[in-house]
């Protein structure tokens, strides 16, 4: 269980946030900014006790400025609420992380989140025009919008995971709801071919909103089931998946997951790699970009599967995140980790992580969040260990995987952030640059009260 804070506070205004931080400063109490708690790196763990600063009551959304194409949203606004509200007025932010139902604007900023449509609309740091925050010094601050002279302080605060400030509000870029969407799925002979297609696509100037390339085993799991529209929450899921699947898993896990090397080798029999693309925006342009992507994929030997795989992905895109609980119920462990790398390194990172983890856990990967310069790799691993050794095995897999990824040229994180889990890896990867991070800490939070321990600060 995560260590609990000593106190939870629910401020409703920026002034109240400031008052809480002022008290905490005087009493040298840790302050742990808290959005919706969906962070996966232990960023909200109160390892030193202190005050959990729950920001969800800062939940106001301003009117859309249609000329400037912006909206002001407070830090505690939940993702789904924001997108629904914008959609009701014909706009979208285009930020739809899988955790949209359980994450906040402030949490997105704090952890440099990426939504599923980021290849076109950008990550959260690309959508921000300015932020308001209360610093660890107790000062309130609003960063300027372009044009301005001097460094961009917003980019120094975004990603700080509560260690420098508590965000209270952000001005975000919005776009009209897409007039049209074009969906397409492809099967490539190999992962490498699929990666090449994405790279060439971005070089040709195409900007799909969704780009997801599944490695062969992930492709086998993604499968060819017909699309379905999910309207039920996981707790209302049918009894079959709630009870029968975990039971089945409990029986099978020790036999199969106990021998990950064997299973990983078995995946060599699978080669096909599936790519899912969605283009959106002005209808004719989306259709045109889809057609250009088709020509390009087919030139690289892909088999076109028509719109169905991408439509299916869209219909069930928030379901996937809940499936992991079945694995735990089955007595095994599973986790995901994500990194990014330039195109020169992407395939090598993929191979090295697979090789490193293969003996310890079953590993699959998909590639998403693409750029002209590279993309993100999202690994999932599933394993089992003899009773009592699960934690040790789990932690060693994490270490091995992250170290393999970094030595092959990946960064520490593309969108989940650092928290406690990757704190050591971040500090090591920064080298002497860690002093720059410490300098920011000393400048914005001289008493060291803000979320101590996270990012290794």
């Amino acid at each position: 269980m995560p260590p609990p804070p000593d106190l939870v506070v629910w401020p409703s205004t920026e002034e109240e946030v400031q008052a809480v931080i002022a008290v905490a400063r005087r009493r040298k109490l840790p302050v742990i900014p808290y959005g919706a708690g969906s962070g996966v790196c232990g960023g909200t763990w109160a390892t030193h006790g202190g005050v959990a600063l729950d920001l969800k009551r800062l939940d106001r959304i301003g009117p859309v400025d249609a000329t400037a194409r912006t909206v002001d949203a407070e830090a505690g606004v939940m993702g789904e609420t924001l997108e629904r509200r914008l959609a009701s007025e014909g706009w979208q932010l285009g930020h739809t992380p899988s955790s949209i139902y359980m994450s906040t604007v402030g949490g997105w900023l704090a952890a440099r989140s990426a939504g599923q449509l980021s290849s076109r609309w950008g990550k959260i740091e690309d959508m921000v025009l300015s932020v308001r925050a209360v610093l660890g010094t107790g000062e309130r601050l609003e960063t300027p919008e372009r044009p301005f002279s001097g460094p961009d302080v917003a980019q120094l605060l975004i990603g700080s995971e509560g260690t420098l400030c508590a965000f209270t509000r952000a001005r975000l870029r919005v776009f009209p709801l897409p007039e049209g969407r074009a969906f397409h799925g492809y099967d490539f002979k190999t992962v490498a071919d699929g990666l090449e297609a994405i790279r060439v696509m971005f070089r040709a100037g195409l900007r799909p909103s969704v780009v997801r390339l599944y490695d062969p085993f992930d492709t086998a799991i993604v499968g060819d089931k017909p699309p379905h529209v999910s309207t039920t929450s996981p707790s209302q899921a049918p009894a079959l998946s709630r009870e029968l699947l975990p039971a089945l898993f409990r029986v099978l896990a020790p036999q199969t997951l106990g021998r990950p090397g064997l299973m990983n080798r078995a995946t060599h029999l699978l080669r096909k790699s599936r790519l899912v693309l969605v283009f959106e925006g002005e209808a004719a342009r989306a259709a045109d970009e889809d057609a250009a992507a088709r020509t390009l994929c087919q030139r690289l030997g892909a088999v076109s599967l028509g719109p169905q795989p991408a439509e299916k992905w869209l219909a069930s895109r928030y379901d996937v995140s809940y499936r992991m609980s079945k694995v735990f119920e089955g007595g095994a462990f599973a986790d995901t980790f994500e990194v990014a790398a330039p195109w020169e390194r992407v395939y090598e990172v993929y191979q090295k992580v697979r090789e490193a983890v293969a003996a310890h856990a079953f590993v699959l990967c998909h590639f998403s969040h693409a750029y002209l310069e590279g993309c993100s790799l999202y690994f999932s691993f599933v394993g089992a260990a003899p009773l009592g050794q699960e934690r040790e095995r789990y932690e060693s897999i994490w270490r091995i995987a992250l170290s393999a990824a970094q030595s092959a040229g990946a960064n520490v994180s593309h969108h989940h952030g650092v928290g406690l889990l990757k704190a050591r890896a971040l500090q090591e990867s920064l080298g002497e640059g860690r002093h720059a991070l410490k300098m920011l800490k000393d400048f914005f939070d001289p008493d060291g009260i803000m979320n101590p321990g996270k990012l290794g600060l």
């Binding site: 440099r112 919008e145 372009r146 001097g150 961009d152 070089r203 993309c375 993100s376």
Partner: protein, 324 residues
């Protein structure tokens, strides 16, 4: 401290020139030494001693797959652009004044090293940096397209006028050399309609190389230059033409003359609109939903010389209220 003492303390890393004393480090380690000497003598870099990054004048590596290059911070952008062409790369369309700057000046100065990307966004042209912090420690950021590994430390360099860190090398994001160029010329019933048209096209994904605009009689003429892949240029032209009629736009005939003044400013869209309403002819570069770099008579952030940081504060932010 006298300049001869400084000269002596800096040894061979120091060069006399008609406009003063220059420190000319050839490596990050030498720059660290320079900073240590200056610190020990209570001298600020840039005042009694200026910094020359002339030794960092090479194109060090070209990464063809990620479309990136590692360039010394002392390279002039126009020269770098020429060096890129044999590799079929370009930095994209930079404004005339930006082209005269070194990589360091472009990144650290008021341009803040920003370039436009599709959907009307801006991003740093540098994907990673090698810099030396004021205390002499090195700062190397990771070569990855995006990161969630803490704050973006390159923001200590970009636009910071070298006051927090000094850049020595940068890995820059390039584009493939354009296969095609096309000029789309449209006229609109008002300045607002013309600029709405531009913003709508930008949001659609159109990423123009540059544009020229002027009010001619009762209409506002917009000349947009597109560059890129063959079908990409056609798509961008279509985006512009698709948006135009709903805003009262129609094809226009005659080309506009260039602006009288070459001075460059970073302008918001309302500032662009005001200048056009005053009858100015403007050249627009780095077009994004934030605004544009404008050559011509427009008001905004002056780009010809380093300006004071916003609000004169330690960092470019407005402090709304002190600690309670």
């Amino acid at each position: 401290m006298s300049s001869s003492e400084l000269r002596h303390a800096l040894g061979p890393m120091c060069v006399d020139s008609p406009d003063g004393l220059y420190a000319c480090p050839r490596s990050a380690r030498e720059l660290t030494e320079v900073l240590a000497v200056l610190r020990a003598h209570g001298v600020a870099l840039g005042r009694e001693v200026k910094l020359s990054r002339g030794a960092f004048d090479r194109l060090e590596a070209v990464e063809p797959k990620s479309c990136t290059v590692l360039a010394g911070a002392g390279l002039v952008l126009a020269d770098l652009e020429r060096l890129l062409h044999p590799h079929a790369f370009t930095l994209g369309t930079l404004s005339p004044h930006a082209l005269t700057l070194t990589v360091a000046e472009f990144l650290e100065g008021p341009y803040a090293g920003l370039k436009p990307v599709p959907v009307g966004r801006l991003e740093p042209i540098s994907i990673s940096l090698e810099a030396v912090l004021a205390d002499g420690r090195q700062l190397k950021t990771h070569f990855s397209p995006r990161s969630a590994a803490g704050p973006d430390l390159s923001a200590l360099v970009l636009g910071a006028h070298g006051r927090i860190a000094v850049v020595l090398k940068a890995r820059l994001r390039c584009l493939p050399l354009p296969e095609a160029r096309q000029v789309v010329r449209l006229s609109f019933p008002s300045v607002e309609a013309a600029l709405d048209g531009v913003r709508a096209a930008l949001a659609d994904g159109c990423c123009p190389a540059r544009a020229r605009a002027q009010k001619v009689q009762q209409r506002t003429v917009l000349e947009v230059e597109l560059a890129g892949a063959l079908d990409g240029v056609a798509r961008d032209a279509q985006s512009l033409q698709h948006r135009a009629p709903t805003l009262g736009g129609r094809p226009a005939g005659e080309a506009l003359h260039p602006p009288a003044t070459p001075h460059e400013h970073e302008c918001s869209w309302p500032a662009v609109a005001r200048a056009l309403d005053h009858g100015e002819v403007l050249d627009l570069y780095r077009l994004s939903l934030h605004g544009a770099i404008v050559a011509g008579g427009a008001g905004g952030l002056g780009l010809d010389a380093p300006a004071r940081w916003a609000h004169g504060a330690g960092l470019a932010a407005t402090v709304l209220g002190g600690p309670l």
